[in-house]
């Protein structure tokens, strides 16, 4: 049972066909996109474009790490997108008004943690449905961010903010370092701590946890707080990339993050899934968006296409569970 928790869904059978059937949808999508893009667009496998993809998915991977934990607990967090916008707007406002960078970072982290705490308390302690709670927080975060900026974006940031996106340390761009750090941290937490074992167990068999006398609520709340903290960090990369903070910049990001997690083979039921799957999933979403851009397919079609992809991925996953 514990082993099943860290493998993708349906890895019961051993044959090549069985393994192929059990591979997360992200692999197939990556494969298909890889072939399509190599044939149609010669520029895809160039170093410049691949670096570009890496920078584009950095924010997504960081947010998706938090989303993975949330979905493993059979939850969902629709508020992460607007929370990213709110964190970005608040920290940008503070920096523009003369506060130092560390103070702004602390403020963003505090906002991410607080919204996560609100989500976590209502979901983990009061047992309200996750999608409804996080939708409520979605509205609040969205509104506060818009009120703070009166609907405009905040520009005129000092040059050092750009370092979060443009900076290069040891030949590797800063967003990639940040992504690697967040992934490693999440990996350590998920697979090598008591917290991580609880994350799998809350989704897998919560009743047993409660009956065994564990303090489930504490860990359940911590999952949402962690997701909020990661989102706050990601907001700096986003602000640096845009060289401005928009209140609505994060909207839709939660959708990409959910798509990444689901494509990565994490299931909405029974705490099954993996972090490595999510990273594959995020890459798949990133490559899909990049590829659609290269193929000249506009943003409006991308919204609809990713909507279809997510439904197909969840559908395949649930079909597979039915057969297993």
């Amino acid at each position: 049972m514990s082993a099943a928790g860290i493998r993708p869904a349906g890895t019961g059978d051993t044959g090549l066909l069985g393994r192929l059937a059990a591979a997360p949808g992200a692999l197939y999508l990556l494969g298909i996109m890889g072939i399509v893009l190599t044939v149609w667009t010669p520029g895809f496998f160039g170093a410049a474009n691949l670096t570009n993809v890496g920078l584009q998915v950095a924010v997504l991977i960081i947010v998706a790490c938090g989303m993975t934990l949330v979905i493993l607990t059979e939850g969902i967090d629709l508020s992460l997108g607007p929370v990213l916008g709110l964190c970005g707007v608040c920290s940008a406002l503070m920096i523009v008004n003369g506060y130092s960078l560390p103070v702004a970072i602390l403020a963003a982290l505090a906002i991410g943690a607080c919204s996560g705490l609100l989500n976590g308390l209502l979901i983990g302690v009061v047992h309200l449905p996750p999608f409804i709670v996080t939708l409520g927080v979605f509205g609040i975060a969205q509104s506060v961010a818009t009120v703070l900026t009166k609907g405009d974006s905040i520009t005129g940031l000092p040059d050092y903010m750009r370092w979060f996106n443009d900076g290069v340390v040891l030949g590797v761009p800063v967003p990639i370092w940040a992504t690697v750090a967040c992934v490693l941290l999440t990996f350590a937490l998920l697979y090598h701590t008591k917290f991580g074992r609880y994350v799998f167990a809350i989704g897998g068999n919560r009743q047993a946890l409660i009956l065994s006398g564990s303090r489930v609520s504490l860990y359940h709340v911590a999952v949402y707080v962690y997701a909020g903290l990661l989102t706050a960090l990601a907001s700096f990369i986003m602000t640096a990339r845009m060289n401005a903070a928009h209140p609505t910049i994060g909207i839709g990001l939660e959708f990409d993050a959910i798509a990444a997690v689901i494509l990565g083979g994490t299931s909405f039921e029974k705490g099954r899934g993996s972090l490595s799957g999510t990273i594959l999933g995020a890459l798949a979403v990133g490559v899909l968006r990049n590829g659609l851009n290269l193929l000249g397919i506009g943003g409006e079609w991308q919204i609809a296409i990713i909507g279809v992809v997510i439904i197909v991925a969840v559908g395949l996953d649930s079909m597979r569970n039915l057969n297993a």
């Binding site: 209502l122 309200l128 409804i132 509205g139 609040i140 509104s143 959708f255 909507g307 559908g315």
Partner: protein
């Protein structure tokens, strides 16, 4: 497993106060407090014109939340109501602007119905959790609306068509008549027809409903279809009211619809509540928004307000021990 044993936060209510009574009394109290406070603060609030305004807004709000209520009663959720409304509204407005009112109406209703049926099929046949299936549909419908409109805005609809939102009958605005008629119709459907009773049965206990031989999947598809159809209908009322449509038409409509259902005391775990509650919820919501207007609060705060209302009303019901928690 009963609610009170699994939920540490749920307190036991005194014996004279049932769960349903708690929900109803709390909503009536909220309504009375709101009316008293607003009429004290603003003398304009209780004027005939303002009240008519509030009820007109509440009716439009109710039409948008009606379909969602059915889905929630059946134990699901439809996050795509706003986006489907937006898509249907864009298509209808363009056709009506092109002079073909009947075709516009037909297209709005069939697009709504189609999206709803797809939702239903995804939830019942493919077994995708309802919030995920309808969340995907949200983005598909929104994407299609953007593609169709290409960033344009359609405005200035035919005066005849606009009557359904701007006209009066016996001194009362037509949207209020529409809201009342829809409420009575859906209340009748919920309480006297097989489909209506099945909605409560499926929402209350899906396993029991299936074991008793009910065609659960078929009925659920019908419920999602009905919800989509009502979104299409709501789209007509909305475009007639605001006299324009663009691809962002449905963006801000999901939160208020959910808020109206929550305020109406319908349990998010299904099986408990009703359409009249949603009507009351729509009125409360309209009064709050009207009060914000009268007090000069920036419109930016509206989604924080609706988000807060959703959290508060769900929280109140849970703490009040209402039968909301059925998760094992």
């Amino acid at each position: 497993m009963s609610a009170t044993t699994t939920s540490p936060a749920a307190m036991r209510l005194p014996p004279w106060l049932s769960d349903r009574a708690f929900v109803i009394i709390s909503r009536l109290l909220a309504l009375i407090i709101l009316v008293v406070v607003l009429s004290l603060i603003s003398p304009h609030f209780l004027s005939w014109n303002n009240l008519i305004n509030v009820f007109r807004q509440a009716s439009v709000q109710f039409v948008m939340a009606a379909g969602l209520t059915l889905v929630v009663l059946a134990g699901g959720i439809d996050l795509s109501v706003g986006a489907v409304l937006g898509l249907a509204g864009c298509l209808a407005a363009s056709l009506i602007n092109g002079g073909d009112v009947a075709l516009g109406v037909l297209v709005a209703l069939s697009v709504g119905l189609g999206c709803g049926l797809v939702n239903g099929a995804l939830v019942t046949l493919v077994r995708i959790p309802s919030f995920m299936a309808t969340y995907g549909m949200l983005w598909i419908a929104q994407g299609l609306a953007v593609i169709f409109m290409k960033g344009d805005t359609v405005y200035g609809l035919t005066a005849g068509f606009r009557t359904i939102a701007t006209g009066f009958f016996l001194g009362i605005p037509i949207p209020i008549w529409i809201g009342l008629a829809l409420m009575l119709l859906l209340h009748g459907i919920l309480h006297t027809t097989v489909l209506g009773r099945s909605i409560y049965a499926i929402g209350g206990n899906p396993a029991a409903a299936r074991l008793s031989g009910m065609p659960v999947r078929f009925r659920l598809i019908a419920v999602y279809g009905l919800s989509g159809l009502l979104s299409g209908f709501a789209a007509l009322v909305v475009i007639a009211r605001i006299n324009s449509a663009d691809s962002s038409l449905g963006d801000e409509l999901l939160l208020p619809a959910i808020a109206a259902v929550c305020l109406g005391g319908t349990s998010l775990f299904g099986g408990v509540g009703g359409i009249v509650g949603t009507a009351v919820g729509s009125v409360i919501l309209a009064i709050i928004l009207n009060g914000m207007n009268l007090l000069g609060v920036q419109t930016y705060w509206q989604s924080a307000m609706t988000g807060g209302i959703i959290l508060l009303s769900v929280l109140a019901d849970q703490i009040g021990g209402a039968r909301l928690n059925r998760q094992s």
